[in-house]
């Protein structure tokens, strides 16, 4: 299930990125040198830029937000995080990894 979700997420991100590029590529292929079309293409390029920036900022906000929350929530000075975790009772809490230890 986890693998499927990750695969779907990756395909979705790649799909969005590629579709927007192919859309623009068609515009680029049909370019001519007239001033009006040149200006249209400039506008198209900047539209593309702002679209991708919006996507980047959205994903960035999610990842950065997750990271900031992680740092705040799981810092050892957080009152909710006073007691040792289950791994800290082991001789070496970092030994192995999830898939090996079956956590």
């Amino acid at each position: 299930m986890k693998t499927t979700l990750i695969a779907i997420s990756i395909i979705a991100v790649l799909g969005v990125a590629l579709v927007s590029q192919i859309h623009f590529a068609h515009a680029q292929l049909s370019q001519t040198t007239s001033a009006k079309q040149y200006l249209n293409l400039r506008a198209e390029v900047w539209n593309e830029f702002f679209r991708m920036t919006t996507a980047a900022f959205t994903v960035g906000a999610i990842v950065s937000g997750t990271m900031i929350w992680l740092v705040w929530r799981f810092r050892e000075s957080n009152p909710k995080n006073k007691s040792p975790t289950k791994w800290e009772h082991l001789e070496d809490p970092t030994a192995g990894s999830y898939e090996e230890e079956g956590h």
Partner: protein, 515 residues
């Protein structure tokens, strides 16, 4: 092997040693020295650009070109590679439970080629830019500086290949028989990946350098348009080597974060397998995207699409690393000591740099950003934001191991705050400068462009903050390695578990992450 300061040896014993830790120390001292030398050049560049039209610090464009050329060469080849090799030398044999590197003498020879290469680069002080594009580098670049650059890079390239062969053989052939390759720690995996990449990538550039030299001597005309050559061919050869080289700089820093994050989160790594997979994927994909540096050279549309897809293919593998880091931290009890602060800061900036890279790889947008300060901001976010933060994190992490003493946590925090703030202020601003149209590598700019002036000044203040942070870093390294409190070598940060590798190395059946 610990504690040179507690049990000092004559310097020459370390200098002529072939033991992996001694060679590692030499690499580290060499790399950190050149970090500061390259940093001084960066401060000169940024201070000069703070005052448009006033020729502050640099009085002519030729000198400015030389300064930023040597700055780039120093930071990439005399800081980033040697520091990664130094930490790799110290840790990889221990991680694979072997007594030394596979070929100790070759290891020492590979290191000692670095000062020779460095001397050629610094004494020549070429003005070709670090990419040294033809035709300028073969027709107009003044000798002997450009020739010294060619020989310096040649020597550094041979050194890289020799040390890479050593790492590959050490990991694949000398690891303990009880240690399956899939359980080799991820830092060692990162060194294995970048070593294989170096062996594949570097010969192409070595050939290009010889072609460049013979072109300069008038014996050939490979890249000389007046002799029927093609300058674009040089770009292909150069970027076939140096786009993978980006990952060669980056992956060791990611590997170092894999050492630090589970330790300070006090829990196991989320997924060893996905880390290995992502390293291998990046190692392969790194070779599929060199053309994205050359969209504006008249490349045909289909080729550009292929390279664009090749570039975007690096996103999932990079994302796997970020996901792995966050999942490892999730549910832990995190101690934000200096190594962890720098590691987490590095992840945040890695993500930001990657997001900028995705925009950059889109070919229509590349035409806007190509040759502008956007590119400068993007690559520096990677180089300082990820690689620099990863390396500094690891240096703080290894400080007790190497010196037997503790650094001062408050000064380290001050270093982190200044460096993080400075990095964001300097390089995010440079992205905006690029969108405002400011070309890179310019000596001066018109004072009429007020937005350029303002953004340059903001960026320069950020650079000064980074400079100040590294002054703190250097002072801390020197002072606390001599006067710091003795560290508890079993657990310097009081976070539980086993601090260090010698313990694990002596006990092949227990210890950190299975090694």
């Amino acid at each position: 092997m610990v504690l040179e300061l507690q049990k000092p040896r004559p310097v020459w014993q370390i200098m002529f040693s072939t033991h992996h830790t001694d060679v590692g120390y030499l690499y580290l001292v060499f790399g950190i020295t050149f970090l500061f030398m390259g940093g001084v050049l960066a401060m000169i560049i940024r201070t000069h650009l703070f005052f448009p039209g006033q020729n502050v610090l640099v009085s002519d464009s030729a000198t400015f070109n030389r300064i930023f050329t040597v700055h780039g060469l120093t930071m990439l080849f005399l800081f980033a590679l040697p520091v990664a090799n130094g930490i790799g030398n110290i840790l990889v044999p221990i991680m694979v439970r072997y007594k030394d590197m596979a070929y100790p003498k070759l290891n020492a020879i590979a290191f000692w080629m670095n000062p020779v290469g460095a001397a050629l680069l610094w004494l020549g002080f070429a003005d070709t830019t670090w990419v040294s594009y033809a035709p300028y580098s073969i027709i107009r670049a003044p000798g002997p500086a450009a020739d010294m650059f060619i020989f310096g890079m040649k020597i550094l390239g041979i050194s890289s290949i020799l040390s890479s062969i050593n790492f590959v053989v050490t990991v694949l052939k000398c690891k303990h028989p009880d240690l399956p390759l899939r359980r080799v720690p991820l830092f060692a995996w990162s060194m294995l990946t970048v070593s294989l990449m170096t062996i594949v990538a570097m010969p192409t550039y070595a050939a290009a350098l010889i072609m460049m030299l013979t072109d300069r001597l008038g014996l050939s005309g490979f890249f000389n348009p007046f002799a029927g050559g093609d300058p674009i061919a040089y770009l292909h050869l150069f970027w076939f080597t140096f786009h993978p080289e980006v990952y060669i700089f980056l992956l060791p820093a990611i590997g170092m974060m894999y050492e630090i994050i589970p330790r300070f989160s006090r829990k196991p790594l989320y997924s060893q397998a996905s880390g290995v997979f992502a390293f291998v994927m990046l190692g392969i994909i790194g070779f599929a995207s060199w053309g994205h540096h050359m969209y504006s050279t008249g490349m045909d549309f289909t080729t550009k699409v292929v390279f664009m897809i090749g570039t975007l293919a690096a996103v999932p593998a990079s994302g796997m690393h970020v996901f792995n880091f966050l999942a490892t931290m999730w549910g832990g009890r995190i101690r934000f000591a200096a190594p962890m602060k720098f590691a987490v800061g590095g992840i945040a900036l890695f993500f930001s740099a990657g997001a900028g890279g995705v925009l950059n790889s889109a070919m229509p947008l590349d035409f806007i950003s190509h040759g502008t300060y956007w590119v400068v901001g993007h690559m520096h976010l990677f180089l300082i934001g990820t690689i620099g933060f990863g390396f500094v994190a690891m240096i703080y992490y290894m400080f007790p191991y190497v010196t037997g003493r503790m650094y001062n946590e408050k000064w380290a925090s001050a270093h982190f705050v200044l460096m993080f703030w400075g990095t964001v202020q300097t390089f995010f601003t440079q992205h905006l400068l690029g969108l405002e149209g400011m070309p890179r590598r310019v000596y001066d700019y018109p004072t009429d462009f007020t937005s350029w002036t303002q953004l340059n000044q903001i960026s320069t203040v950020g650079a000064w903050l980074i400079g100040a942070s590294f002054v703190i870093f250097l002072a801390s390294l020197i002072y606390y390695s001599a006067k710091g409190k003795p560290a508890n070598m079993d657990d310097p940060w009081g976070i539980g578990g086993k601090y260090y590798y010698p313990v694990s190395a002596k006990n092949p059946h227990g210890g950190h992450s299975g090694y």
